[in-house]
Each structure stands twice: as C-alpha cells, then as structure tokens.
Amino acid sequence: MNIRTIHWFKFSAPQNFYFLAGRMWPWFATLAAVLTALGLWISFFVAPTDAQQGEGYRIIFVHVPASQMSMFIYLVMAAWAGFGLAFNTRLSGMMASALAPTGALFAFLSLVTGALWGKPMWGAWWVWDARLTSELILLFLYLGFLALQSSIDDPRRADKACAVLALVGVVNVPIIYFSVKWWNTLHQGASVSLTKSPTMAIPMLWGMLIMVVAFWMYAIAIALVRVRNIILDRERHTEWVKHAVE
C-alpha cells in the first residue's frame, strides 16, 4: 500500500483502528522480543563490571527503562486524553485506558527494582530519595486513574472523566516533582541518588538505550492488543463486531 494514500482520520474510527492494530501489534511484539534479547546480551555479557557498584549496577538495565516508560506513558496518556476531550474522538479515550495499566505496572517495577538496587547500595530497601518518592506518587496517580475508570459504568463518561483526571495529573507532575525535590534537599543533604549512576561506559549506555527501545516496543504492542479488546467490548452491538467475531 502506498503510504501516502493512507487517510489518517480514517483510522480514528474504532473499527478501522481495530484491524490496523491487529496488523501492527505482531511487528512491535517481534521488535520487542529481538531488542530485549539483544539488550539482555549487552547488559550481561558486553557491559563491563562497574568499578564502584560491582555487578549490582546491572539492575539499571531494567530500572531506568521502567521508570522512563512509566513517565512517558503518563504523558502519552494525557496527550490522548486531551485530544479526546478537544475533538471528542472515541478512540482517544480507549487508547488512554489501554495505556494506563501498563504504565502503572512500569511504575511498580521501577519502585521494586529501585528498592532492590537501594538495599545493597545504601543498605536500605527504601530511601526517601526525590526520584523514588516522585515515582511513588506517579504510581498513586495511575492507581487513581484506574480506580476512577473502573468505578464509572458508562464507558464514554469514564473516558471523559479520566481524561480530565489525566490532564490535571500531568499539570501536577512537574509541580509535585519540584516540591519533592525541594523537600528532599531541605531534609537530607547530599544523598546517593539513582540519577548519579556509575560513570557510564559506552556499552552500558548502549545496553540501556536498547532496553529503553525494547520497553517502548513492548508497551506499544501491549497497548495495541489491549485497545483491540476494549474496542470489541465497547462496539459489541455493531454489525462489524458481529462479523469479526464469527
């Protein structure tokens, strides 16, 4: 198909997007698998041992991508939400709700791997580091989104209410991050921070970069599959779903 002939608005109709997503997700899933394999190989066999943190630093190969994804997904979710509110497109809300669970899982993973890193490095499972604290609050924001989504029965209303919440959240995220940082510097002087990761050797950087891209692909594939389920469920009374189910 000539890419120029694709009419993008055509795909904003849920039924068209359903089939488009059906064709796209296997590609993203394959990419995710290949890149993960490559990334894992670099993280364990190419990247050298760190001078200060020994082998323990290898946790960053999952921790950093997970926390980055958790923040990016929130932004993407809010963008879909804003788009949906502004143009009243049905697909936007569905995309936002397809992304939310994955974002929440990444936030959760980021916290747990952060703790698993913190224990050997700082001797404590949890420190009130600005990054970790903000990540925790981000998880709360995700949980609020999911809770609101699940407690409103009418899906259209749920989408719109969640869109407002996501936008309010995204305005607040920088404020929260700033305030937590302020609070952190006031209460404990210089502390070890996850941002101050070891002086990065080039293979380490590559490994992390590839893992980040792999996580991206994973998140996109998962969101596409989930949005397909959501579309089927919401459009169950339409003729095309009946055809698709047969």
Partner: protein, 232 residues
Amino acid sequence: MKKLQLRKLGLASVLLAALRRELSLALRQKGEVLTPLVFFVVIASLFPLGVGPESALLLRMAPGVLWVSALLAAMLSLQRLFAMDYVDGSLEQMVLSATPLGLLVVAKALSHFLLSGLPLVLMAPVLGLQFGLEGRALGILMLSLLLGTPTLSLIGSIGAALTLGVRGAGVLLSLLILPLYIPVLIFGAGAVEADAAGLGIGGHLSLLAALLVLSAFFAPLATTTALRISLE
C-alpha cells in the same frame, strides 16, 4: 395572565447569592461543618498517643502531623460539595444558568474554605500548643494553613466533580485528590519546619501563594469540565 417584571441582578450579586446559599445550607446542617473539625482534633491528638509523649519528638512532628490532619479533615467535607445539588437537580440548573459555571464553582470552593479551611486555621494553634509549638511557630502554622487550605478546596472541587454519582465516591475521592495535595503539604509543613531550623520562610510562603493562584486559575476550569461530564 400578565408577565412579571423582575429586577435585573449584576454578576457580583448573583455570586453573592450563591455564596450565601452555600453558607446558609451548611449552617443548617451544623453536624456536617463540625464533624470535620472534631475529626481534625481527634486525629491530631492520636499521634502523641501513638508515638509517646516525649516533647522533643512531638515538637519535631507537629507541623507535619497538623498539616496531614488538616488535609484529611478538609477532604472529609469535600464529597458533599456538589453531591446534594446533584441529587436534587439544582446542579443541572447551575450548569444551565446564564451565570458562568466557573464562577459558581469558585463560590462553592470559597464556601468550602470558609466552612472547613478557616475553622482549621483557627483551631490549629490550640492543637499546636498540645505539641509544644509556641508563639512564632503557631503564627507561621496559621499563616501557612491560611494560604494552603483554599488551594485544598479548589483542587478538591475537581475530585468532588469527577466522583459525582459514582460508586464508592468517598474513598475514590481521597485516592484521586491526596496525591495532588502533596505540594501543598510539603510547602505548608515545610514553612513551620524551616522557621524552626532558623531558615527563611519567604520561599515556602510564596510558593504556597503561587499554588493558590495557579489552582484558582486552573481548578475551576477542570471542575466545570468534570461537572458537565458528570451530568451527561
């Protein structure tokens, strides 16, 4: 039958009427105004029982404990900000009235502040004394609450509008709103602590004021959108 000739009202008098209605409605259900206040006192008094009466420790904890209790108390009364008007249809009339909805929301948030925030401000010194705070610290506590609680009412109105007519609205409301309250908590409690540590409090207070301005601008916008969605 003849048509009635009515006196025209300016926007300011409409808003004043809305505010007066909110206040008189709340004052007729005195329990609903007093309960959060009593809750505030009880919660704050539980902490010394939990951590022990050691005065140095209590003094350190006081700003945080009082601020967290204030957050929780302010949230208790949020749920009924729109709920009663939603049930009986008055909210529909507000949404459909010629008066800008955003201004009605501000009037409601203001009444929530007057009925739940302001009493907390006035009550705080009494509790502060229990924790060993004195003179200057009490003043700063009150000042930070005075600057912070209106923000709580404004941000809270978004949550109250989003959870209208929703299952388990009370708990849901707290889950949605408490994370958004964190900056206010940090700067509010931080002001008292900074002063105790001999640091300036100008930064904290101006940030609280900035949050107030920001939320006064954005929260009514989000709340009106949420209200329209809830009524659909």
